[in-house]
């Protein structure tokens, strides 16, 4: 068990025609001993390449990766003492579960057969796969193969775990169960873990911290709530959270933001944050928007809108709202309301954008210039 450091790690691929593609661009992260870091981003953002560089399956173009303070750039994968769980599980099809789990110990340690057998038995017990030890991977269900793949990584007691979308081949229900179980196991074993996923739900729910990558560039590293409430930029704000944050590209007119369909008055601190700008991107999360029955606007943060589509989810409804249904390109946004509220398409309602919940981003760079009120000390209180 050890801390893992990525220091300005860059990966440049050279294509056959000589074109150079930077897959990972100067990524630096410190992963503490025993920490669970989730590396999240859209497809092709370089997250898997980063993981493969840590594993030693890809060379590092520039930068340095250190495990327990020692540089591992030049070490072959076999000598890094790192275990990896692959998306496809990558079990050895001709070996039984027992042999699959023993293989790493046989190849990388000096243990004798009895020690290996007892270690495998212990891990099999932990993973609840004891009765599967004599079976071959082809006789196992996807969920069971997943457990064996995890068991194969755990049994080696490596310095660090790397997981490359390990849950993406499971059905939704099993995925939710394994998510919890994986967290429990990681907590028990206290092994430094880097977990790659494109699923922001997994990132939010599993990680001690999450690192968001886009186009090979690290966007933000922080606790899930930090990334959720105080995103560094528009990309993070839009990527984390489901349904996504609403964005409006607005012009600055003195103390208010203006767009064709509505105007939004700013508080003094917000005005200060955007001083000197002529336009800005306004963002607000769907669950921060409050919806009430029509009947008079009591302040300037309220707007009369029409319900366009309702997506019931049971516990809550996602509703798509529009300022004006009749025009060709209506400005629409989403809000979430309690699943018990009776709202249907075509209803006229009043939406409130509370001023302490709004985010403002630079139009060109997307950098956050103002984030919602969020005190990480109160974080637990706020989510309750």
């Amino acid at each position: 068990m050890a801390e893992l450091t990525l220091d300005d790690v860059t990966k440049v691929f050279t294509e056959d025609d000589g074109n150079e593609i930077t897959a990972v661009d100067e990524v630096s992260v410190d992963i503490e001993d025993g920490e669970f870091l989730v590396l999240v981003g859209p497809s092709g953002c370089g997250k898997s390449t980063t993981l493969r560089m840590i594993a030693g399956l890809e060379t590092i173009t520039t930068g340095e990766i250190r495990l327990a303070g020692r540089r591992i750039n030049e070490k072959p994968p076999a000598e890094r003492d790192i275990a990896m769980v692959f998306q496809s599980y990558a079990l050895y099809p001709h070996m039984t579960v027992q042999q699959n789990m023993s293989f790493g110990l046989e190849e990388s340690t000096e243990m004798n057969d009895d020690e290996i057998e007892s270690k495998v038995a212990d891990t099999a017990e932990l993973m609840e796969i004891k009765e599967l030890l004599d079976r071959k991977p082809s006789d196992l269900s996807g969920g069971q193969q997943q457990r064996v793949a995890l068991g194969r990584a755990i049994v080696r007691a490596p310095e660090a775990f790397l997981m490359d979308e390990p849950l993406s081949n499971l059905d939704a229900k099993l995925r939710a169960t394994m998510r919890t179980e994986l967290q429990r196991i990681q907590d028990d074993l206290d092994v430094t873990t880097v977990y790659v996923t494109h699923d922001q739900t997994e990132a939010m729910t599993m990680g001690d911290r999450i690192a968001i990558l886009n186009d090979g560039i690290l966007q933000q590293v922080g606790t899930p709530l930090e990334c959720y409430h105080t995103p560094n930029n528009r990309f993070v704000a839009g990527f984390i959270g489901d349904p996504s944050m609403n964005f409006f590209e607005m012009d600055v007119d003195g103390e208010t933001l203006v767009i064709d369909r509505f105007e939004y008055p700013l508080k003094p601190a917000q005005q200060e944050a955007i001083s000197g700008r002529s336009d800005v991107v306004f963002g607000i999360r769907p669950e921060d928007i409050r919806i009430k029955e029509p009947g008079g606007l009591s302040d300037n943060y309220q707007f009369e809108v029409t319900v366009d589509v309702v997506e019931p989810r049971g516990d809550e409804n996602t509703i798509h709202l529009t300022f004006d249904r009749s025009v060709d390109d209506p400005v629409t946004f989403t809000a979430t309301v309690s699943g018990l509220r009776n709202i249907s398409a075509g209803d006229e309602v009043v939406a409130t954008f509370p001023p302490d919940s709004i985010h403002l981003f630079d139009t060109d760079s997307g950098v956050a210039v103002h984030n919602r009120t969020f005190d990480s000390e109160d974080a637990t209180h706020q989510v309750l």
Binding site: A55, P77, A78, A83, M84, A90, Y92, E107, R152
Partner: protein, 307 residues
Amino acid sequence: MSTETGRAGERTLFGHSWRRIVLYLVLIGMGAFYLIPIETGLMTSIISPETYSGNFPYLPPLEPLVPGTGELSIEPWRGAIDGLGQGLVNSVILVVPATILSGLLGSMAAFGLTTISWRGQIGIYILFVAGIFIPYQAVLVPLTQFWYNVVPLRAAFEPLAALPLVETYHWKLLALIITHTAYGLPICTLLFRAHYKKLSDEMVEAAQLDGASVATIYRRIILPLSIPMFAVVFIYQFTQIWNDLLFALTIVQFGDAAVVTQDLVGIGVSQSGTNFPLRMAAALLAALPTLLVYIFFGDKFAKGVAA
């Protein structure tokens, strides 16, 4: 009309649809077409040479068989075993190692060219592929020169001849083993490479992370997963090498090291005419090992082809 055995509206004969009946007739016809030459050979091979007339060779031999006894003649088979015995032994000495070697080396080469990635491997692979297209005829003279004049294999082999069961003339078989291995290597590599490309890269990477060296990955992961392909390659190479005559004529030329195909050429032919029963028995005897290989490895072969 019956709707129980055939589709509704289909005409039937005794409850079987015409479609089925035609299919079986065609299958029986094809079976007969393929089997009659073998059956003819078999029938001919149990006729006494003295009574062989050449009429209706596919019919079972009629009286008189062996004149005076009324028994089937085993004389042609006895003659074939006598005439081909040495050649059969030489062929086995040649074919078994050459088949195993070309399969094993082909598998290793394919592993090195497919699963492991290194600079320049495509160039090397192209050389392998080019090897498939070098015609036998183009290498006949160089081969003779190589084994008789360039490489002093004969002299180097002399000390080994002192060992039990080893004869001096075996050096020619060794030369033939090396030649067939080299010539079979490209096609074996190609077959194994197609198989290895389908194996999961992640599995090999998992083995690397598990601490396995390149050699260990081959021995413990790739080799066990190659067994169906080995069946294909072994059957193919066995048949190729067993049936080869050209390289044997070029390298062995004549003498004690002659293989079964060389012996088969001359057996039963003399100035007084052709001994057909003997030739048929010899042909069947020479073909027997390849038949046995197909029978014993056929199911694995099918699995490997389908894999």
